[in-house]
């Protein structure tokens, strides 16, 4: 299956893109997606303990299963206001 990965702020800078496609095995979780990102962009690992994630524009847990066509977003610590 294929998902869209969205990256923001510094994560986007590290990956050089705010939107990427990833092909995943069946049964993949958000965490699987993140590991695949870190594998391609090792600098992302610094965010391991501070990122949040969202599935289809809704906050999610890293253990959540992902489905074909999902949009998976990784969010560094926020700084709005």
């Amino acid at each position: 299956m294929r998902v869209t990965v969205r990256l923001f702020a510094r994560l986007r800078d590290i990956a050089g893109a705010g939107e990427l496609q990833r092909d995943l095995p069946a049964g993949a979780s958000v965490h699987t997606v993140w590991r695949s990102m870190v594998s391609d962009f090792p600098e992302l690992s610094a965010y391991e303990s501070s990122i949040s994630c969202a599935v289809n524009a809704d906050y999610s847990r890293f253990t959540a299963a992902v489905a074909d066509g999902d949009e998976i977003a990784f969010l560094p610590p926020v700084s709005g206001g």
């Binding site: 923001f8 702020a9 524009a57 977003a73 926020v78 700084s79 206001g81």
Partner: protein, 156 residues
């Protein structure tokens, strides 16, 4: 005008406040966050705000719902600007209307604390000599401790 918005357009405090129904209202607390010329000893040139827009809007709506739960008589509007902003520009406008002033102040303060906790918006600071993404809180709307902290700051 919607109660919540993420927009690239300049914010208008009067319009945001006026979007609230003021029937029965005796107090309105408006908060504006402005782009500062200094941060951590650096001279700031301008900021760029970026949002994960659909989730940021949901975050603002969640804050409005939380405030309604805490202060049923309060009406709250939150508009956050994104994109490039100059020193002195308003990045966020919050308007809280209530029959009485204590709740209006509390809801307004609560909203800005919660924005900084859970809304997926990021600012990149361009200062003299470089630029840096500002990183604050790890966003987690299920973190009850963070919500309680915002309530404590707001109501105290």
């Amino acid at each position: 005008m919607n109660l919540t918005a993420i927009t690239t357009a300049p914010l208008n405090q009067q319009a945001v406040a006026a979007s609230l129904d003021t029937a029965g209202i005796g107090a309105v607390s408006v908060f504006l966050g402005l782009v500062r010329d200094r941060n951590q000893g650096r001279r700031v040139l301008h900021l760029e705000y970026e949002a994960y827009e659909p989730l940021a809007l949901r975050g603002l709506d969640l804050i409005v719902a939380e405030a309604r739960e805490q202060w049923p008589a309060v009406r709250l509007a939150i508009h956050h600007r994104i994109g490039r902003m100059a020193i002195g520009d308003a990045s966020v406008v919050i308007a809280a209307a209530s029959p009485h002033r204590a709740d209006a102040f509390a809801a307004s303060r609560y909203a800005i604390e919660r924005i900084k906790q859970i809304v997926p918006i990021w600012k990149r600071e361009y200062f003299e000599g470089g630029d840096v993404w500002i990183e604050g809180a790890t966003a987690d709307p299920d973190n009850a401790g963070a919500r309680e902290q915002a309530l404590r700051i707001a109501c105290a």
